[in-house]
């Protein structure tokens, strides 16, 4: 029955915008015969759709929120499948002078110099990570400060705003690569801080707890989760290139 063989997934925009899913999912459908549809939204909304049982499986990147989610009994079987990383970007002339600094120093410098910084401010996985970084740097999370601009928009829009305003921002590498390509390889914003372990961006697959969502297709979701962790899928992820650059690093256990 075709009906039962279809699966609905909610995921974050980054997996969709980078083209990863369009590359990966046909393989999954071919191997398992399961038809997978996905809706790409903010992490918060994706989790909410799961909580309301409107989807069957989640692919998200906000580890602390995911853990809370499971603790509340909405999700199950959190399985880490891959990661990429975040970077801090800013104008090439680096007015605040953060290039090469570690992440906490960079944030402190930005605060002290009141350099314009763009925050997504949308409670997305990226935004959650950014808030964590401020906390780690021991800085009270800015809100109404003039130099701290909350865009409330997606990553790319935020980068564009940063470019218009000559500001800094934190982005996932995938979106940055896309941004670079739209500027023909000569983007005004450059990577200034990268490589810190804390900047890792972990993606996980979550199934929904059948106790909360008895109608969700738990078994198919588990199949998807298994498949994502399978050697075959992991290899595919490893080989995925965006504009010639490697983007995701598989790390399923």
């Amino acid at each position: 029955q075709a009906q039962s063989k279809s699966l609905m997934m909610a995921t974050t925009t980054s997996t969709d915008n980078t083209g990863l899913l369009e590359y990966l999912i046909p393989h999954f459908e071919q191997e398992t015969g399961i038809n997978l549809k996905w809706t790409a939204t903010g992490t918060g909304k994706a989790l909410k759709l799961g909580q309301n049982c409107d989807v069957d499986v989640l692919l998200v990147h906000a580890p602390p929120a995911e853990k809370k989610y499971i603790a509340k009994g909405y999700g199950k079987d959190r399985r880490q499948v891959m990661y990429n990383d975040f970077v801090i970007i800013g104008p090439e002339n680096d007015p605040a002078g953060i290039k090469g600094k570690n992440i906490s120093d960079a944030f402190t410098t930005i605060t002290n110099k009141q350099a314009v910084f763009m925050s997504r401010g949308d409670d997305s996985g990226t935004n959650k990570k950014e808030k964590l970084l401020w906390k780690n740097a021991g800085i009270q999370l800015p809100d109404k400060e003039k130099w701290y601009v909350q865009t409330g928009q997606g990553m790319l829009a935020t980068i564009n705003i940063a470019q218009e305003r000559d500001g800094y921002t934190m982005t996932d590498r995938g979106t940055y690569i896309k941004y670079q390509s739209t500027k023909g390889g000569n983007a005004p914003l450059k990577i200034l801080v990268e490589g810190d372990a804390i900047l890792l961006n972990q993606y996980s697959v979550l199934t929904l707890d059948p106790k909360n969502c008895p109608n969700a297709k738990y078994d198919l979701a588990l199949k998807f989760s298994d498949w994502m962790a399978s050697q075959n899928a992991q290899n595919l992820i490893k080989d995925f290139r965006l504009l010639g650059q490697k983007l995701f690093i598989p790390n399923a256990k």
Partner: protein, 228 residues
């Protein structure tokens, strides 16, 4: 600026090249907007007629409420419809979430006040003598409605065309209720939002032009209804 020019070229490529994802989005858009327009005209015209034709107590208040409904944000409508048709909602059984039908329901709610309000104010403008003439020629209820609407057909057309523009361009409902699922519930507007989000402004412009082309063709084919 250059992305606008690039968008023009790309629009032509999309349409001529027969890009399959564009065309499925075009069809989704047409299906959903046709459906919601039929529903909203079917309900809005009679309501607008009643509101414009008769004088009754509380009419002014009803008009104020209707005018307020013109300012229902699409995301709000989207959320409300979602609340009903989400699997845990009262209508969850019907499986309308992430379907074109779901979107059409939301868009009907969006278009209904527009059709109703403009129809009502057009009907309000009709000659007192028309009413008397129809009654004294023996017209029953249904004939009065039909004839009055026909007398002000250009106004009704304006109502329909305005509502159509609204439905065709809305994003919030399609996104929330439809989920922007490629090859399924992706409409031109959600596709534009997606491309723009990706930073592919030229693609956004191109899809926008595709949508405008659709609107142009529809309006062109309606223009025979216009005053000669």
């Amino acid at each position: 600026m250059d992305f606008i020019v690039a968008g023009f070229i790309k629009a032509i490529e999309l349409l001529i090249g027969g890009d399959s994802s564009t065309w499925t989005a075009v069809f989704a858009t047409l299906k959903v907007s046709t459906c919601s327009m039929l529903l909203s005209i079917g309900t809005g015209l009679p309501c607008g007629f009643l509101l414009g034709y008769f004088d009754f107590k509380g009419k002014k208040h009803l008009r104020t409420i209707l005018d307020t409904m013109l300012a229902l944000p699409t995301v709000f409508i989207g959320l409300t419809v979602y609340a009903f048709i989400s699997r845990q909602g009262p209508l969850g059984e019907l499986g309308l979430l992430f379907t074109l039908t779901g979107i059409a329901i939301g868009q009907t709610i969006l278009a209904f006040p527009i059709v109703t309000a403009i129809t009502a104010s057009t009907i309000e403008n009709i000659d007192r003598d028309l009413k008397l003439t129809l009654v004294t020629l023996g017209a029953g209820k249904r004939h009065i409605v039909a004839t009055c609407l026909w007398e002000v057909r250009y106004g009704i057309l304006a109502a329909a065309v305005t509502a159509y523009g609204r439905v065709l361009t809305e994003v919030g409902i399609s996104m929330m209720v439809g989920g922007n699922i490629k090859y399924h519930t992706r409409t031109i507007t959600t596709a534009i939002a997606l491309e723009t989000n990706k930073g592919l402004f030229a693609d956004g412009i191109a899809l926008g032009l595709v949508l405008i082309t659709i609107a142009f063709i529809v309006n062109l084919s309606l223009s025979f209804l216009r005053k000669q």
